[in-house]
């Protein structure tokens, strides 16, 4: 007694399958494709989707990492950086050998979190460095993450070059380090004030490059040799010009180099125009363009603080969620015609500038080591050619002559509350004079000597 399927049942099955296929092919897939498919700019997702998690749990970690990374690419295109960060962290956790992800992640964390006026959120830099340290530790056989971490110090932090030097030195030890990138170590030595070491590095590189050229007379190899030769040339000239050689030989410095030190005459006035909006005006007697004075506004009791900055690599943890109650604003005051005038608007980014503490400190800082070469030609590497009647400081950066001063502010002033609701807070250095009260011709104008003559 075999049972035959009833035609009703078969009809039902047929109808159901035709119906679902029609729906899927007809409308659903079209809308799905528009709304949910990965790869479209509009797509946003946090973390792993269950299927990816399944893969991850079942041991396809690298595969998931790859998929995620491809996915994150779409977010870069659409500028959705917030979505990328957790992906980067996940990818590096899943597959610690994704060098590109570490590198991109560092760059992203270090550079891409900005406020409305493109100021970096520097509270993330310790995390970026931590990611670099982690990546370097997990991938010790390649130079890349050592180099990238060094670059973060060299270019982004742009203050403490000894750290850049030590990372570049580590990178140089790896076999796969690109020869051209080794040049950067010499630059870092210079900025760290270790000019001799820079020169020695160049010499070593030149020997290497000429050995390579001897073996293979390719044009590129010759070019590389030439480049190093040029760099050595320039460096030697500067060493003479900036009085480095004279100082070493015990000769008196003269007008050609960094003597006598030039008074930059810094003064500043900070005005809280509106809540969280501050205008900085002031003077800097250097006429050639290229001067950027650092201004930092941070909590007076900012954790891990350092003069005009913070202990950038205080942490080994990649913390993608830095303290929400700390404020750290860092900006540059560009000098033009010996004056600067910059409005800093912090009102649009309350998460970046929470202003939860009571007291704040404004720091003004100028370090000749970050200055462009034509200014360094007068100030030299360590600021030998620079002074400031009021604010020269030789303590905050040992072995360097820098300009450094602080002014204090309260929360009420910044937020224009309490007694400051109707009064405009104006904080200034004692030497600040309103525009028009100084006679222009009384000013001393810096005349930077150049190789081409005046």
């Amino acid at each position: 007694m075999q049972r035959k399927p009833s035609s009703l049942a078969l009809g039902l099955v047929a109808a159901a399958f035709v119906g679902q296929a029609a729906l899927q092919g007809g409308t659903i897939f079209g809308t799905w494709e528009k709304n949910y498919s990965p790869g479209k700019g509009q797509l946003v997702s946090g973390g792993l989707s269950p299927d990816q998690m399944l893969f991850a749990l079942s041991g396809f970690r690298e595969m998931v990492a790859g998929i995620l990374w491809v996915r994150a690419d779409a977010f870069f295109d659409s500028g959705n950086y917030d979505a990328i960060l957790p992906i980067i962290r996940l990818v590096t956790l899943l597959d610690p050998n994704e060098i590109d992800v570490y590198a991109t992640g560092m760059w992203h964390i270090g550079y891409n979190f900005t406020d409305e006026e493109q100021r970096s959120d520097r509270r993330y830099i310790p995390s970026a460095l931590a990611l670099g340290k982690e990546g370097a530790a997990k991938n010790p056989n390649t130079y890349e993450l050592f180099f990238e971490t060094g670059w973060m110090w060299y270019h982004k932090i742009d203050d403490d070059y000894e750290n850049a030097v030590s990372w570049f030195e580590k990178a140089k030890l790896r076999d796969d380090m690109l020869p051209a990138r080794k040049d950067l170590l010499s630059m870092a030595y210079q900025r760290a004030g270790r000019v001799d070491d820079g020169l020695q590095n160049y010499y070593g590189l030149y020997d290497d490059a000429s050995a390579v050229y001897k073996k293979d007379k390719a044009f590129g190899n010759h070019q590389h040799m030439d480049t190093i030769e040029n760099n050595i040339d320039t460096m030697l000239v500067r060493m003479v010009q900036r009085g480095y050689e004279a100082e070493k030989q015990g000769r008196p410095l003269d007008g050609y180099d960094a003597n006598p030190p030039f008074d930059v005459g810094f003064s500043v006035k900070a005005t809280v125009l509106e809540p969280r909006v501050i205008r900085f005006e002031g003077t800097w007697n250097v006429l050639p363009v290229g001067t950027r004075i650092r201004v930092v506004l941070k909590d007076q009791d900012f954790k891990n603080a350092e003069p005009a900055g913070m202990k950038w690599d205080f942490s080994d943890n990649v913390n993608l969620d830095p303290p929400k109650n700390e404020t750290f604003m860092q900006d540059q005051l560009y000098v033009k015609n010996r004056r600067f005038n910059r409005k800093v608007d912090m009102s649009k980014d309350p998460t970046m500038y929470p202003f939860t503490g009571q007291d704040y400190v404004m720091e003004f800082f100028y370090n000749p080591r970050s200055a462009p070469p034509h200014i360094q030609d007068k100030f030299s590497w360590n600021g030998e050619g620079m002074t400031d009647k009021n604010f020269l400081n030789t303590n905050v950066r040992p072995g360097q002559r820098v300009m450094y001063t602080t002014l204090k502010l309260t929360r009420d002033m910044i937020l224009r509350r309490g007694e400051w609701q109707d009064r405009v807070p104006v904080i200034k250095t004692t030497n600040y004079q309103e525009t028009g009260t100084t006679k222009q011709d009384e000013d001393v104008i810096l005349n930077v000597p150049s190789l081409r003559g005046n």
């Binding site: 049942a9 659903i28 946003v44 997702s45 269950p50 969620d321």
Partner: protein, 262 residues
């Protein structure tokens, strides 16, 4: 109808006492409860990650529950001979199968509700979000429920002719493929270099496979800037799709089960 409901409610009673399921559920709930604390994964987009993670946990847990719940349902009845007592009563086989399926789906609904409540509580506690935002968040578990009902129907259909272990991998595999095939197909069809034959085959598979990916609507919910063009219409479409598919699977299951020697 009466026997179906009786069998369904008995199935629910049995399912919510099954230790394996309760352990899976407990793990899911625990993960939900600690989700806000998994700070390593959160960035400035903390809310985004929290939402995504919680929905992901619910979806994964529900899928495991749906499969484990259904693959053993028929074999257990046969092994413990309870099915004979029932089938010797005036109960048709289709009634038995439908009752079992409805019971499984109801048990699933109860467990998913529990997880959703935990999710809402944790979310509320963490974010102090307004009601409208939470209601929006709940759309995802609702769609997951349709998805899991479809998955349960797949497993029930297979359970009429394969052993539980084989069924586990069959249903689980189909769930994976069905979840991944949509993006795969999308990539394939938008690529101009794909041969026409491959495209046709892919299109055919796309039409035939249960497309679990249709129900993964979490992306716009996790990120409120995103919206679905016509949300209501989409939800209706995919629900009807699911119901049709479930219907088809159940009838196939009944046809096989009717012929089956138990």
């Amino acid at each position: 109808m009466r026997p179906i409901l009786s069998i369904a409610s008995t199935t629910v009673g049995e399912a919510i006492r099954r230790r394996v399921l309760l352990i899976i559920l407990l793990i899911g709930v625990l993960f939900l409860a600690v989700a806000p604390g998994l700070g390593v994964l959160s960035a400035r987009s903390e809310t985004t990650v929290l939402r995504g993670m919680m929905l992901g946990i619910i979806q994964l847990t529900s899928a495991v529950i749906a499969i484990v719940l259904t693959v053993y349902m028929l074999p257990n009845e046969i092994e413990r001979r309870t099915i004979y007592t029932i089938l010797s009563k005036p109960v048709q086989r289709w009634q038995f199968l439908v009752g079992k399926y409805l019971g499984a789906v109801s048990a699933l609904a109860i467990m998913m509700c529990l997880m959703s409540v935990v999710m809402v509580l944790m979310y509320w506690y963490q974010q102090h979000a307004p009601i409208s935002e939470i209601a929006n968040l709940l759309k995802a578990p609702m769609m997951y429920f349709v998805q899991m009902s479809l998955l349960a129907a797949v497993a029930v259909m297979f359970s009429t002719f394969v052993s539980p272990l084989v069924n586990f991998f069959l249903s689980g595999g189909l769930y994976l493929v069905g979840s991944l095939f949509n993006p795969f197909f999308e990539t394939l069809s938008s690529n101009n270099n794909t041969p026409a034959f491959t495209k046709t085959v892919a299109k055919f598979i796309n039409l035939v496979l249960p497309n679990f990916a249709n129900y993964n609507v979490q992306n716009p919910i996790i990120n409120p800037q995103q919206t679905i063009g016509n949300e209501t219409q989409y939800f209706i479409n995919v629900t009807v799709y699911g119901v049709l598919y479930i219907l088809g699977l159940l009838v196939v299951g009944i046809l096989i089960f009717d012929r089956r020697e138990v």
